[in-house]
Structures are given as C-alpha cells and as structure tokens.
C-alpha cells in the first residue's frame, strides 16, 4: 500500500511547484550549495505515517524520528510534516499541525501517575499499581452502594449514575470501543464526549 501517487496529484500551485522542482538543477550540480547550507536533517531519520491529532480534517502526517527502531535504542521524534500523498491535505499543515513536534515534546507532558490526597496541596508521584488499585476500589465501593438494578416500576435498568466518564476526542476508535465496553458493562450512563464543546 506504500504506493506513491504523488505524480498523479494535480493541485493548483502545489502541483505546479512539484513539477518545477525537478527542473531546478540542484541534483548533482548543487554541491557547493549542499556544502554551504545546513545539512539536511532527515537523511537518516525513520519515517512513520500518522494522522494529525487535532481537528477532523485528519491531515496525513509524516513523523520523522531518530533511530531505526532497533531494540537497543529508543526512538526520538525530531520532525513532523504533512504527508504529500494524502488526498485531503496534500502535504500541507495548519499552524497547529506544523507545530505538532512541540506538543509531543511539551515540557508539560506527563511522565508518571500522580496522586493528590483529599485536602492535599500538591501532587505526588505514585506507581501505576497504586493508582489503578485505588481507582478500582473507589469505583467498586461506590457502584455497590449506588447502583440501581431496578427502577421503581421494577424494570431492570442496570444503571449507575454516581460515577461518570468523559471520553477522549482524540483517542482512536479502537480505544473508544474498548472504553465503551468497560463503561457500559459497569452500567455507567453519565457518559459523554467532546462532540458539543
């Protein structure tokens, strides 16, 4: 499926630009320029196809990372640009998409689970086990207490209204499907996503 269809794409401006680039004579004759300019930084980068995480245009992305995915090295994303094969964005990106690198590497990316006890004034880092065990405990205790199995009319309603969930709007459909299964199998009905805001 990695068929490059760039040559079939006609798009005003971009299409023309693409056709002209070949004529510019940088190929072999540009040694001086190649020597003078900043070295091209993607020469040894690994390219991964992805989709922009922001809006619903769903622009195709090329993510460039250092490292060849060998087992003993951790990949580091160094650059993200538009996927020129993508039929909608044709390689273009908006100011958010063009700056995706900075959200991937934001200093405010979270790196460990954190917990804030009742009345606490700061977070403290905790282990995943602590966090998930505690969350499960809190959920179960409340569910056992407030679960409504039957309504006043005696109909089985299997409803839990005291714990709610907001689902991510940028997570994959696969994640959402799994989330749906967990949430509904618990009987949760206070359930929403970001479609409205």
């Amino acid at each position: 499926m990695a068929l490059t269809r760039r040559e079939f794409i006609k798009f005003t401006g971009l299409g023309l630009a693409a056709s002209s680039l070949g004529m510019l004579g940088f190929g072999a004759a540009g040694e001086a320029q190649a020597a003078a300019v900043r070295p091209f930084k993607l020469t040894h980068a690994t390219e991964t196809r992805n989709t922009c995480t922001y809006c619903s245009v769903a622009c195709g992305l090329l993510i460039y990372s250092m490292g060849d995915r060998a087992k003993n090295a951790r990949s580091n994303i160094i650059h993200i640009e538009g996927d020129p094969d993508h039929p909608v964005n044709r390689g273009t990106l908006c100011p958010k998409g063009a700056a995706l690198l900075d959200v991937v590497h934001a200093p405010t990316r979270l790196k460990a689970p954190r917990y804030r006890p009742p009345g606490g004034t700061d977070f403290k880092e905790v282990s995943w086990d602590f966090a998930l065990d505690r969350i499960a405990r809190l959920m179960k205790d409340d569910r056992d207490k407030n679960f409504i199995a039957r309504n006043a009319a005696g109909t089985t309603v299997n409803r839990w209204t005291t714990v709610g969930m907001l689902a991510a709007s940028a997570s994959s459909s696969e994640t959402s499907y799994l989330t749906w299964k967990v949430v509904r199998s618990l009987g949760m009905v206070v359930f929403d996503n970001q479609a409205r805001v």
Partner: protein, 303 residues
C-alpha cells in the same frame, strides 16, 4: 569547504572578484505568495520555526494577531495584518507573509563587508553563511525591506534561507509545503510568473482591477514575489515598500565611496612619497641652529 565548488555562487559578499560563472544554465527559483488566498493562519510561521529549530520567548498580546510582533533572529517569517477600509467602505483584511525577498540584486549582500558571509546561489537564493558573519549589521542597512536581524547573543545576522537545506535535496521550503491554501508556491521563477498571471486574471474578474505581481525591478526583481489585489498600493500591506531599491546612501557608501576612498588615501600617500623624493626633507641647517642659539641667548639675557 563551500568555496571549493563555488561555481554555484553568482554573488558573494565582499568579494572583489567575479565568482566562477561558467554554469549559466541553472533555472532560477522563486516563491510566489498569493496574498489573495492567504488566510493568515501562520502555518508558514509555524513550519518555519519547526523546521529551522527556532523558538522565541513567549511574548505578549499587543493589539493585533501579529505575533511575535516583529521579525527577529528566531523569527524569519511573520504574518503582518492590516485592516483596511476600501473606497467602497468595505473592510479588507490584508494579510502579508513578511520575510526575506531574496532580491536578484541583494542590498544586504552589497552592504556586507565580510567576504562570503552572504552569498547568492545560481538559483537566486540569498543565503547568510553564519560562520563568516561578523555581526556588523551592515546588511540591515543594505536591505530595502528591513529583513535581517542581528542576534544579541551570538552577533550573527539571521533571515529566511528559503530553506536552502530543503531546496538542495529537492524539497520545497517548509513554509511552502505547509501553506494550507496553496497561497505560497515554489518553482522556477518563470513558472511562478505564469502562475501569477493566471491569478491576476482571476482577481481582476472578481473586481480587483489593480491586481498585479510584486516583483520590484529596482532590486533586479525578487525571488519571493507577491500577487497583490492592490498592486498599485503595496504599502497598504503593512508597509510593503511601494518602490523598493537599495538606498542611495548605501549605493554611495558601498559603491562609489570604496574606490574613491582608497584612491584618495593612496593619492595622499603617493603625493607624500614623491614630494619627499623630489624635494627631500625639510632639515634644520647649521645656520638655523646658530640663529636659534642666538635668539635663546638673547632670551636668557632678558630679565
């Protein structure tokens, strides 16, 4: 190392010799900015910062969408916004991507005193070679478009490189690639001019009778051109110069001044030398000494 194969340079700052120019068949490139389809989204700014690894300090809101509020050593391109009420009383929001115009006859290069710190490749790109830059700021004075900015930390001059690193490997500049509406195009200068013609026809059909191409001839044309709806009044677009050219001051300073000054200095030296050779030194004679001694004696005697 760049000089070993300098046949791709057509101009090189502070170089008295004509660069090797046997390669005369290279196409010139150009970036065409169609202001009429620019939505001012700043994708170009964003892509430029990302590709070139530029991050300026987070600034403040200053009463406009224009952020950062000016070009800087780490802001190589900038959307400038102008709210303009036309003759019919309708609002037009004229948004222009500012940055290096890559002049055919670059004022910065003309003004630069450091050999090879500013070069122009055969394809027309004007590039700053940082390790040769001495930070004097002459390029700032030479530029008709107020583009280069000198860093306060490393004292080097910075501006758009037209992504010479990308162009070298056959890619379009980062801003061009990112531009969502195709308002920024890249190709040979000839192609870009054709493209502009089509756009101007379309704009005229939509009532912009003065639509036109901005490719100012006083700097020999530029490798970054604009399609303007009001080509008769470029200054509407946040002060795009109506008739840009290298300032007469700079022309005088970097043109006629240089040979004249050296000639003057040389002349003064030569005149001195020949004067000495012909007339010889102005020496004190024995008689002078005697007269001098006499005067001193008299002086000593005076009470």
């Amino acid at each position: 190392m760049s000089d070993l194969q300098s046949q791709d340079y057509v101009r090189r700052s502070a170089s008295t010799m004509t660069p090797p120019s046997a390669r005369s068949h290279e196409d010139e490139v150009a970036k065409l900015i169609d202001v009429s389809r620019c939505i001012g989204c700043k994708a170009c700014q964003s892509a430029c910062m990302e590709w070139n690894d530029l991050r300026q300090e987070v600034g403040h809101f200053e009463g406009s969408y224009q952020n950062p509020n000016d070009l800087s050593p780490s802001v190589w391109t900038l959307m400038r916004f102008a709210e303009y009420e036309n003759e019919q009383g309708n609002l037009e929001w004229l948004i222009r991507k500012d940055g290096c115009m890559h002049c055919e006859d670059p004022g910065c290069l003309k003004a630069c005193p450091a050999p090879g710190a500013i070069v122009q490749y055969a394809n027309g790109i004007v590039d700053f070679i940082s390790d040769k830059c001495i930070g004097c700021g002459y390029c700032v004075k030479g530029c008709p478009f107020d583009i280069p900015r000198i860093s306060k930390t490393d004292h080097k001059s910075y501006k758009c490189t037209l992504c010479s690193d990308r162009v070298t490997v056959g890619l379009e500049p980062a801003c061009v690639k990112a531009c969502p509406t195709g308002a920024i195009m890249f190709g040979t200068k000839a192609d870009m001019k054709h493209q502009a013609e089509d756009r101007i026809v379309d704009l005229k059909s939509r009532g912009f009778n003065n639509a036109g191409l901005y490719d100012p001839q006083d700097v020999g044309g530029t490798h970054v051109m604009y399609v303007l709806h009001h080509a008769d009044k470029p200054s509407l677009y946040s002060g795009l110069p109506d008739k840009p050219g290298i300032s007469m001051m700079v022309e005088a300073w970097k043109g006629v001044m240089k040979p004249l000054a050296l000639a003057g200095i040389a002349l003064a030296t030569v005149v001195g030398f020949f004067h000495y050779m012909i007339k010889g030194p102005n020496e004190v004679t024995e008689a002078d000494e005697a007269e001098g001694a006499r005067v001193l004696d008299e002086t000593e005697k005076t009470p």
